[in-house]
């Protein structure tokens, strides 16, 4: 059987314009990497939006895998901009292979 370890997977939905700010924080807490997925449309307190890259009103999903400790550090570093910039952060346990990388 393949050996797996438990890590945290964190996903952050943010305005695409803010992604660099998010990934800078990920780098700062020394998580080894991150991956960005495109997002098409959505709806929240401000009503629905559609990906209008022309006006820059689009969002991206930043996903990163990290140890429990680093994940908590990331969450607390992100907290100040979470509300002001309308980010959505979810976090859960996953099994990973070659867990020493994270």
């Amino acid at each position: 059987m393949t050996e797996t370890v438990i890590r945290k997977r964190i996903e952050i939905l943010a305005d695409t314009a803010l992604v660099r700010r998010v990934t800078e924080i990920i780098n700062r807490v020394e998580i080894t990497g991150w991956t960005v997925l495109p997002v098409q449309s959505g709806s929240g307190r401000d009503g629905p939006w559609q990906d209008e890259r022309v006006t820059g009103s689009n969002k991206s999903l930043v996903l990163t895998v990290a140890s429990q400790i680093k994940a908590e550090k990331l969450a607390s570093e992100l907290e100040p901009i979470l509300s002001s910039h309308g980010l959505l952060l979810t976090m859960w346990d996953v099994e990973v292979i070659r867990g020493d990388r994270f």
């Binding site: 305005d15 314009a17 803010l18 700010r21 401000d46 009503g47 629905p48 559609q50 990906d51 209008e52 890259r53 022309v54 006006t55 820059g56 009103s57 689009n58 901009i81 002001s84 910039h85 309308g86």
Partner: protein, 354 residues
């Protein structure tokens, strides 16, 4: 400030009086050209399709590609025109006037938005920045319509367009946060970098420079692509803009009638100022009208992007809906015509419409 605001009335008054005699036909023909031009008709089609809730949509990558194409093309054409005509003192005055207008117009807008519009300081500043800056597509559409009316704008106006994109962002931020509140030093530096190196400024100025270097000969090679295709691309782009503008206003929740009124009166006012300034610094009638359109237009690309970073608490539902869904259609469909008529009437009054 008040004496200036009353000039809106002057402006409105100017249209029926001065244009009646010599320029009536000009204005009529501009209006007619506006509404039989495929460019404008495709914009109307977009508005209509969205209001009918059709699922017509242009893929984002295509829309983005078209906007890059349009900017490269007008940059090139402007640069080639300047390579042909040379640079004189008017160019310098126009650039300075553009930078000043972009920086100063947000102050008036901010005042109106806070008092009559009832917005808080933050949102007033954010909206004001949009109205100080410019809309590339409004400019491009105006240039097309001006050419149909035999009033071409000078090539260097593209450089003025690029120069006017960003000063308003600075004054808007100052107004929103207070002069010292534009964030930490490093944030401000990043902000400035973002602002001066944003994609549209770089592409406009870059292709303007390429046009100047390559000149008419170099441009000839690429003119089938950048010149012949231009209006057709503009049609499809405006179709998309119509769809986006109408969809946004239909799902908008944050716009009061007062804000809607400002989104229509402010471009009339700013356009009039622009025409006065343009005439004052000695631009030809076409360039004066183009300058008026620049002043009247509101950004919906560069400035929203900057606001998301610098003023994330400001509500895009307000600033994007005002600039994109009200001011932009108003400018395309009506205000370009008004401004042109005003420019013609002034230019005609001073020394003939050319």
């Amino acid at each position: 400030m008040y004496p200036i605001i009353t000039s809106v009335d002057e402006y409105a008054a100017a249209l029926p009086s001065r244009t009646v005699d010599a320029n009536r036909t000009d204005m009529d023909s501009t209006a007619l050209q506006t509404f039989t031009s495929p460019v404008v008709l495709f914009f109307l089609l977009g508005l209509l399709a969205a209001f009918l809730r059709s699922d017509l949509a242009i893929p984002e990558a295509i829309a983005k590609g078209m906007s890059l194409y349009l900017m490269a093309a007008i940059g090139l054409k402007g640069g080639v025109a300047v390579a042909e005509s040379g640079i004189d003192i008017t160019v310098g005055s126009a650039l300075l006037a553009g930078i000043a207008a972009s920086f100063l117009m947000p102050f008036i807008a901010h005042f109106v938005l806070k008092t009559f519009g009832g917005l808080d300081r933050l949102n007033s500043g954010a909206v004001a920045a949009h109205y100080g800056s410019v809309s590339v597509v409004t400019y491009v559409t105006a240039v097309e319509i001006l050419e149909l009316s035999a009033l071409p704008a000078a090539g260097f106006m593209v450089a003025v367009l690029a120069a006017m994109e960003t000063p308003a962002i600075l004054s808007g931020l100052m107004l929103a946060k207070g002069s010292d509140g534009t964030g930490s030093k490093s944030e401000r530096a990043e902000m400035l970098k973002e602002v001066f190196l944003n994609a549209s400024v770089v592409l406009l100025l870059g292709s303007f420079a390429i046009g100047m270097i390559a000149g008419p000969t170099g441009f000839a090679e690429v003119s089938p692509f950048f010149q012949a295709g231009f209006k057709g691309v503009l049609c499809l782009f405006l179709l998309d803009m119509g769809l986006i503008a109408a969809r946004r206003i239909m799902s908008s929740r944050a716009i009061t009638w007062r804000l809607a009124a400002i989104a229509i009166l402010l471009p009339i006012f700013n356009g009039a100022i622009g025409v006065l300034v343009g005439t004052g610094i000695g631009l030809d009638v076409g360039s004066t009208a183009a300058f008026g359109v620049l002043c009247a237009s509101a950004s919906y690309i560069a400035v929203p992007a900057a606001m998301r970073l610098a003023l994330p608490e400001a509500d895009p539902g307000i600033y994007l809906t005002m600039s994109l869904s009200i001011t932009f259609p108003f400018n395309i469909l009506i205000n370009i015509g008004l401004i042109t008529a005003f420019a013609v009437s002034l230019g005609g009054g001073v020394g003939g419409p050319t």
